[in-house]
């Protein structure tokens, strides 16, 4: 039973005396079990000091030896400085846990004398805890203390290290491996980095620039085998220095590549041939150059703000065989101009892998059989509804609207303007037929849905100009309920012309908005339940009705 014994023994000469000897009760929280000493500590490490226990000896705020810490009342070296103290940063020092029934507490109080200086009064008191669940005596060392750590020795260092180290800086993987490790397997596998033969005779990597953490090109990002990849990224160019020197703008960076056919060191080297070079003018028109042997169009600075023969787009086609070896590679390029002194140039990079040793030409399906959402519609030349100039493909299932503005100053030949706009709206080689399934073969005539055209030549007084094109594509779900396939059943092109005079329509500004839009309309009938026999009432309780009994 805890007995309150407020034995208070004040002492004013705390600085000269060595402090009161510990009261008998202090032996309670002295560890009776000393930490087990390690068998053979490492040569440099000694044993760990056991903590001091006496409340009057502890001083957490004493941070400087032999120098008085200001406002630290338990600091023993503060003799004269005490007069300058304003308060005690720590007023009570406890030696043990608060849960002990009774323990010594060193109290430090400051009081001001008549002449304005401070005077310190310190005392050691026995503090009594009246909690009925207080700790009367603590005879186990590890009850209220941290267990003593195992001292590292030569034998247990590695196990201790792996036990306590989880995540640290510098635990990253070291940067090596890559240029395809030599293995017994000769061919590449999916995701492998393609190896190239450098001029220095070393093995390098086949790089395909791609955007990294920003939209800027990461020029040394490798391309992975069999991963078709298409990326657009921007290259920062300052013309005066970069036009002829920046490697990313030069054609030979992308054409002068020698690929290793396989992973092993003695694999044959396959060159990358230039399949085509297209020159794009500053206005955007494209002309194909005749590819001759050794064609090399390097960037040239024509004027201070015009750099010619800059690589804008690179498309690699790499043919492989079933053993995973590269058979050949070809590259098509688009070269163009930079017409600003400092610009972020957008470049486009693409790599495609085609299996070479399969018979016949591989045809890409846009669904098998039904269309897959997001895949382009197939038109009769197995190409998409995409012309060369800024026309987007119609993607299945995605409704789309876009447009442009047209400035019509003076209409003299209305029918010519009308025909021109209609051609622009429909695009070059606009399709007559659309495949009803994603994998419709060309031979199967019934699989192709004709595009019905519906021009609304509303009776306008003067001039009919088409203002919008709208494609209505009706599709249905075909086949089983579990795995329905999308089928296009009807496609309609609606072209609207102006109903009032053009001046009225544009509100006097002579600017007309022209619009193109696509709508996908699901026309599939809701699935109906069909009964083979007369239905019976299926009166059944839910399966978990008697939970948890059954």
């Amino acid at each position: 039973m805890p007995v309150e014994q407020n034995s208070k023994y004040s002492f004013t000469d705390i600085y000269t005396s060595t402090g009161p000897t510990t009261t008998p009760t202090q032996s309670f929280y002295r560890p009776t079990e000393q930490p087990p000493a390690a068998a053979e500590p490492l040569p440099v490490s000694g044993s760990i000091h056991s903590p001091v226990a006496g409340a009057d000896r502890l001083c957490p705020c004493d941070e400087n030896t032999a120098v008085c810490d200001i406002n630290c009342c338990c600091d023993r070296v503060c003799n004269e400085e005490v007069a300058l103290f304003t308060s005690c940063s720590i007023s009570a020092v406890r030696s043990g846990s608060k849960q002990l029934c009774s323990q010594d507490v060193a109290q430090y109080t400051l009081w001001t004398t008549v002449d304005g200086y401070s005077e310190l009064q310190s005392s050691v008191q026995k503090e009594t805890n009246y909690d009925i669940l207080c700790i009367q005596a603590q005879n186990r060392y590890d009850g209220l203390s941290h267990p003593s750590p195992r001292l590292p020795t030569d034998s247990n260092f590695d196990s201790l290290f792996s036990q306590f180290v989880s995540f640290i800086f510098g635990s990253e993987l070291s940067d090596e491996v890559l240029p395809a490790k030599l293995q017994t397997l000769t061919g590449y596998q999916f995701g492998d980095v393609l190896a190239t033969a450098e001029q220095s005779g070393q093995r390098g990597m086949f790089y395909l620039p791609a955007p990294g953490i920003t939209a800027d090109c990461v020029n040394n990002s490798p391309a992975a085998f069999l991963k078709d990849q298409s990326s657009r990224c921007s290259q920062h160019v300052a013309l005066d220095g970069d036009c002829s020197s920046l490697r990313a703008l030069r054609m030979d960076t992308y054409t002068n590549i020698q690929l290793f056919a396989g992973k092993n060191a003695d694999a044959p080297v396959v060159p990358v041939d230039v399949a085509s070079v297209i020159l794009q003018s500053t206005e955007g028109t494209q002309t194909e150059l005749a590819v001759s042997e050794g064609v090399n169009l390097l960037p040239v600075l024509i004027t201070t703000t015009l750099c010619a023969n800059v690589v804008l787009k690179v498309v690699y086609v790499i043919k492989y065989n079933s053993a995973g070896e590269v058979e050949n590679g070809s590259v098509s390029l688009v070269l163009g101009f930079i017409s600003e002194a400092e610009v972020s140039l957008q470049q486009e990079f693409q790599v495609m892998y085609i299996q070479g040793d399969v018979g016949g030409r591989a045809v890409h399906y846009n669904g098998n059989p039904g269309y897959v959402v997001g895949m382009p519609l197939i038109t009769e030349d197995q190409d998409c509804l995409q012309g060369p100039h800024q026309r987007s493909p119609i993607l299945f299932g995605l409704d789309y609207v876009s447009g442009c503005t047209l400035r019509l100053e003076d209409i003299t030949n209305c029918s010519l303007v009308s025909q021109l706009i209609l051609d622009v709206l429909r695009g070059p080689n606009s399709p007559q037929y659309v495949a009803s399934f994603g994998n419709s073969p060309l031979e199967n005539v019934l699989d192709w849905v004709p595009v019905k055209t519906n021009i609304n030549p509303t009776a306008a007084q003067s001039c009919n100009i088409p203002l919008s094109i709208h494609l209505e594509i009706e599709w249905t779900k075909y086949g089983s309920l579990v795995n329905p396939q999308a089928q296009i059943v009807n496609i309609r092109e609606v072209i609207e012309t102006n109903r009032s005079s053009l001046a009225l329509l544009s509100g006097g500004t002579s600017i007309l908005p022209i619009r193109g839009s696509v709508a996908f309309i699901p026309v599939s009938a809701a699935a109906l339940p069909g009964y083979r026999a007369t239905p019976s009432i299926n009166a059944k309780l839910p399966f978990d009705f008697f939970f948890p009994f059954v």
Binding site: V193, A210, S221, F547
Partner: protein
């Protein structure tokens, strides 16, 4: 004279009736109401038996010391970046800027579980550079033990931008758990114990923040840094580094779980 009880015995009264009477019908109805109606009522009012429940637990979180930092240094889109992934650092080329980072994880209440991460970063800048935006990604190892053992790797993403160049960004927030589906109530749940960023990948797409966040947000169990009020301090002195100071707490989480295994994911058909 006072009476007292000499003896007592119960009396049995029988009410007889033939089968086809109103009394029989009444008896059947009463029997039905006594046993079936309470069951129906109980079932419709979500049952006697709890199917979903919640519990509270403080997770065991460790910072994985994986960091990715992108800072825009001009209004034209110049940037500097740094990460703990060697492949990415190699790809960054001249945009790589190595900061000074100090990290401390603290167990404030001495319960053996870490409570607070203090992350300090000092990014040195050139004379013509200013910081307009900061993107910071930190990865964590996240574990729960009370019902099912959940082991996953998660991330905290900080993104802040300002039209005015800054000297310091201070973030103080909680790393909160986001559950899309209830967790199982027993067993090991470690399907998300995969790297948030594949640091061994040499491909630039592996570090594309769009790809990282897309695949992370597809997960049913994620963490998100809720830091409602980042503090952007302006007025950086010339030559001094940009400072980023983040305090991320690991708070108690309320976790949903199904009470019995059978009801998981199966809706009532009644």
């Amino acid at each position: 004279m006072a009476f007292y009880e000499v003896y007592s015995h119960p009396v049995l009264v029988r009410y007889r009736s033939s089968v086809c009477t109103k009394a029989t019908l009444f008896l059947v109805v009463v029997l039905c109401l006594t046993y079936i109606a309470p069951l129906l009522v109980a079932y419709r009012s979500q049952g006697f038996w709890i199917k979903r429940n919640i519990y509270e637990e403080q997770p065991v979180v460790r910072f994985q010391y994986q960091t990715l930092l992108v800072a825009a240094t001009s209004l034209q889109g110049d940037y500097v970046a740094w990460s703990t992934f060697p492949h990415l650092n190699n790809m960054l080329g001249s945009n790589l800027r190595i900061p000074a980072v100090s990290v401390r994880e603290e167990d404030q209440n001495q319960d053996g579980k870490l409570d607070l991460l203090t992350f300090q970063l000092q990014l040195p800048l050139k004379a013509d550079e200013q910081v307009y935006s900061v993107q910071l990604l930190l990865t964590f190892s996240y574990q729960l033990f009370r019902m099912s053992t959940v082991v996953m790797q998660s991330l905290a993403f900080v993104q802040h931008s300002s039209p005015v160049p800054g000297a310091k960004l201070f973030i103080s927030g909680d790393l909160r758990l986001q559950q899309r589906t209830p967790l199982p109530h027993w067993g090991l749940y470690n399907i998300y114990n995969v790297s948030v960023i594949d640091g061994s990948s040499p491909f630039a797409s592996a570090y594309d923040l769009t790809n990282v966040m897309r695949s992370y947000q597809e997960r049913n169990l994620t963490t998100v840094l809720s830091s409602p009020t980042p503090v952007w301090t302006v007025g950086r002195a010339a030559g001094s580094p940009f400072e980023l100071y983040a305090e991320i707490r690991y708070p108690l989480e309320i976790i949903r779980y199904p009470f019995n295994k059978n009801s998981e994911g199966i809706e009532s058909v009644f």
